[in-house]
């Protein structure tokens, strides 16, 4: 099973890269873009086939290593194909 972990800064944490992307988009003439936040995507190949168990395990990985919960949120997406 494949797991995708999306990690982004919490609201209120300055994201200079997101800010720069927003400015550049505006400079390129893309109007109407509000706040831009940049995050990261981590893809994991898991041996586990049970989705509930996989989610518990990936949550533990996020808490222990993948995300810094002082400043980051994470969201887990499981892919059963």
């Amino acid at each position: 099973m494949k797991a995708r972990v999306h990690i982004s800064y919490k609201t209120g944490v300055l994201d200079p890269q997101g800010k720069a992307i927003g400015l550049t988009l505006a400079n390129l003439g893309f109007a109407g873009v509000g706040d831009v936040r940049q995050g990261k995507l981590i893809e994991l190949e898991l041996a586990e086939t049970n989705a509930d168990k996989a989610r518990v395990s990936v949550e533990a990985m996020c808490e222990k290593l993948l995300a810094n919960t002082v400043i980051e949120n994470y969201a887990i997406e499981l892919d059963n194909e």
Binding site: P16, Q17, A20, L65, N68, I71
Partner: protein, 233 residues
């Protein structure tokens, strides 16, 4: 006094602090590989600067989970002095020994230059050789040095005199905030270094070991090492 420098894969200021410490102590410094699970008795543990694990994932994240860190955390709890410089500061935060986080510099670029920092608490083992309010000139060299903490943590840091150093102008600007170029990374409240509540753990972004020899063009960093030698001898 016995001092130990932890070497992580990708540490690159390990030799620099080893040399500076040895000069201040007048004796050898132990180098401890990150894979070790035990450590000889020591009075000071240093987490050096560098790019441990390439700064991949997040600065300091993987080093904070390396085998030796369990021992470092245990010693810190026993009151052994722990000093984290630059990447070492990032590791201390990731390991939970200090509160907050270090984010990408506000200017988004790596920044290497001499900065002025003001000594905010000279009553600690790390700073007893400095005067309160003394302004030091020490280099920074980092990409992710913007200190961040939530408002409650900041209140606690201020109340308990846990802010060790603040970025400032040449004159120290006691009366106000640092100018835009004086704070090199956009750190909240101009914070350059913080203590734990017992003042036995210090993390800071500037590199005292790079201002420890006349050839460096300044020796303001020596005082920090000398403070430790006098406090821990």
């Amino acid at each position: 006094m016995k001092a130990s420098v932890i070497v992580f894969p990708g540490s690159n200021c390990d030799r620099d602090i080893q040399v500076a410490l040895a000069n201040s102590m007048g004796g050898p410094v132990d180098m401890v590989w990150h894979g070790e699970t035990e450590m000889a008795k020591t009075d000071l543990i240093v987490l050096p600067g560098g790019f441990s694990y390439g700064d991949y994932l997040r600065c300091g994240a993987m080093s904070a989970r390396s085998p030796v860190m369990r021992e470092v955390v245990a010693r810190a709890e026993q009151g052994v002095a722990v000093l984290g410089i630059c990447n070492g500061f990032q590791i201390l935060l990731e390991a939970g020994l200090l509160p907050g986080a270090l984010l990408l510099n506000a200017g988004r670029n790596f920044v290497c230059r001499d900065v002025n920092i003001r000594v905010e608490n000279s009553q600690t083992p790390f700073t007893n050789g400095y005067e309160q309010g003394q302004v030091l000139r020490i280099p920074v060299a980092h990409h992710d040095g913007q200190y961040f903490a939530d408002p409650d943590t900041l209140v606690e840091l201020r109340a308990a005199d846990r802010i060790a150093f603040r970025y400032c102008g040449v004159g120290g600007d006691e009366d106000g905030a640092a100018g835009p170029r004086d704070n090199p990374n956009g750190s909240i409240d101009d914070i350059a270094g913080i203590f734990n509540d017992r003042k036995t753990v210090l993390g800071l972004m500037p590199h005292p070991e790079r201002a420890a020899d006349p050839v460096h063009g300044g020796t303001d960093g020596r005082g920090l090492l000398a403070s430790l030698v006098s406090a821990l001898a």
